[in-house]
């Protein structure tokens, strides 16, 4: 008798469409709808509210704890590795992050470890020149792990706070490329067992649920400590990040909201929930 009201069918349909079109995907949409049903029945403060408000409130609870925050660098250099599939925004994010940390008064070095793609090193060098940040690079075709080590050595010798390692795009389905990543990590670990201290997957916010699979495979092979979701200045809402959080509990540090150095914003659960249901 006191079980509270049931959320009506129209509201649920409205919410289901909002979740799907935000790229939550089948599994996560079903889970969130179940959470909404449960919460609505149990929580009087939700009853009688608009579907959008209920959705935002429940999503906020689902994402509780998902905000990543960079602590001050414990080791020098603290290494942050940017990894992810082709075109996700790693190089641009590496530059943006370097810019942000420099603005915080940190000493930062960039490592151009994409030794494969045409003009990848030039791209990062161009950023480094523009932002007046040191970059360590080698020649095209050089061994990525060797460049990572050279950059680490240089950053250590110069007392840098952070070393940000940009890596080549790679599809998670390519075993030999995932092995290359593991090698970069092994080489750094020889000289600092904790390096890279931060291993961030950079995910294109306009993609669908394949991002969840990307995260699973990269996490299995490299061990992710963080997520950055890019291109959310577009119309996509990056719903795959919710699936990634629910399944892997990887904190989300930043969102990419444009192509300029300053277009990197700390992830806010509250703002995100509003963006999905607003």
């Amino acid at each position: 008798i006191f079980f509270g009201k049931r959320i009506d069918a129209d509201s649920l349909e409205e919410l289901e469409e909002a979740l799907y079109t935000a790229d939550f995907g089948v599994e996560t949409t079903a889970e969130i709808l179940a959470e909404i049903r449960k919460a609505y029945t149990a929580d009087e403060t939700l009853q009688g509210r608009q579907a959008a408000e209920i959705g935002a409130a429940v999503l906020t609870r689902v994402l509780a704890g998902a905000e990543g925050a960079l602590p001050p660098p414990a080791t020098k250099p603290t290494v942050i590795a940017m990894i992810g599939v082709n075109g996700s925004g790693k190089t641009t994010t590496a530059a943006k992050l370097a810019w942000r940390l420099k603005g915080d008064g940190q000493m930062v070095t960039l490592a151009a470890c994409d030794t494969f793609r045409a003009a990848a090193v030039e791209q990062l060098k161009s950023w480094a020149t523009k932002l007046d940040i040191e970059v360590i690079a080698s020649h095209p075709g050089a061994d990525a792990a060797a460049v990572a080590f050279d950059a680490w050595q240089a950053a250590k010798a110069r007392g840098r706070d952070y070393l940000i390692v940009d890596t080549a795009g790679r599809l998670h389905t390519k075993g030999h490329l995932m092995d290359e990543l593991a090698k970069i990590r092994r080489v750094l670990q020889k000289h600092d067992p904790s390096a890279p201290q931060h291993r961030w997957l950079v995910v294109d916010g306009s993609l669908g649920t394949n991002s969840i699979e990307q995260a699973k495979v990269f996490h299995e092979s490299f061990g992710l400590t963080g997520l950055v979701v890019t291109k959310l200045d577009g119309t996509s809402r990056g719903g795959a990040l919710v699936g990634i959080w629910r399944q892997l509990k990887i904190p989300i540090y930043f969102l990419g909201l444009g192509e300029q150095a300053e277009d990197l914003q700390p992830f806010s659960v509250e703002n995100y929930a509003k963006a999905v249901f607003g």
Binding site: N210, G234, S236
Partner: protein, 290 residues
């Protein structure tokens, strides 16, 4: 697999009468779920399932065929028909002018070189034109790929006028005897009015025979809005679907095709310039259905 799921949803129908809306309801739910899991747009999935229902209802359940397989064949054939419709060949114009457009990181620059390589094999003398004046080292990227594939190359690193660069590229092509020009452009959001205006001006200036939208095979639900806006602005003539060497199901292709009717012309299946092929609808249909 979808065949197994449908088989289980339709197991009571073995050799018994006809397919009805009622006895197909569960099976159609499975189809909708499979499409949504493939990142097909919410509304496109719903419309497709309705179309399948219309085709299935009233059909005799064939003896000797599992009902699940019968329905999957109907779905697969409908998908192949939908995906393969339209002019999938390139314009026969000569000189041939192709404009590459799309969201950031979708594979435009790489696909420009890939297309140049493919057309060279077909007997063209391609020139690739660097019209991305924004991304750091974008021009270098295309220049390196052009050298690698021995394609003519045009850029003007001093210019900030994209339509003028396009016109100059055409002049350079006619000067060096190139009979095909492929214009690589900057990544742009469909909601960026200034950049959409820029590419409209470029299109008006160079009058391309083909305008190809380059789309990441893993693109999500916004594929429809993105493609619609690019199509309204530029009258797209084709789609290139990239990164199909990954495991994304590629539902965005169905969404874009059903909403805009723009034919899918090429697919990218790797990072090397040779990893490029004309599009085969039956392969993509199987991939989307999972």
């Amino acid at each position: 697999s979808l065949t197994e799921k449908l088989g289980s949803a339709l197991r009571n129908l073995r050799g018994v009468g006809t397919l009805t809306e009622a006895n197909m309801a569960d099976a159609l739910k499975e189809v909708r779920t499979a499409l949504l899991a493939a990142d097909v747009h919410f509304k496109v999935a719903r419309d497709f399932v309705e179309r399948v229902q219309t085709q299935c209802v009233g059909q005799e359940v064939l003896k000797g065929v599992a009902p699940g397989q019968q329905v999957v064949k109907i779905i697969h054939d409908e998908l192949v028909r939908l995906l393969g419709e339209g002019e999938t060949n390139l314009s026969a114009a000569r000189p041939l002018k192709i404009l590459m457009v799309g969201l950031h990181g979708s594979g435009k620059t790489t696909s420009t070189a890939k297309l140049g390589k493919l057309l060279k094999k077909r007997g063209y003398r391609p020139l690739v034109a660097a019209c991305d004046i924004y991304r750091p080292a974008a021009i270098d990227q295309l220049e390196i790929l052009a050298k690698q594939e021995e394609l003519s190359f045009y850029a003007d690193r001093a210019s900030r006028d994209v339509p003028a660069i396009g016109a100059a590229a055409l002049a350079a092509a006619s000067a060096d005897g190139s009979d095909c020009v492929i214009f690589d452009t900057a990544g742009r959001l469909q909601i960026d009015a200034n950049l959409i205006e820029e590419v409209k001006k470029l299109r008006a200036k160079v009058q391309p025979d083909e305008v190809l939208l380059v789309v990441d095979g893993a693109l999500g639900q916004e594929a429809v809005n993105v493609a619609k806006t690019f199509h309204e602005a530029l009258s797209l003539t084709g789609l290139i679907l990239t990164k199909l060497d990954g495991d994304a199901r590629g539902g965005a292709a169905l969404s874009i095709k059903s909403i805009t009717g723009v034919p899918i012309k090429f697919i990218g299946m790797g990072e090397k310039t040779g990893d490029f092929d004309t599009f085969y609808p039956d392969r993509l249909a199987s991939r989307i259905l999972g």
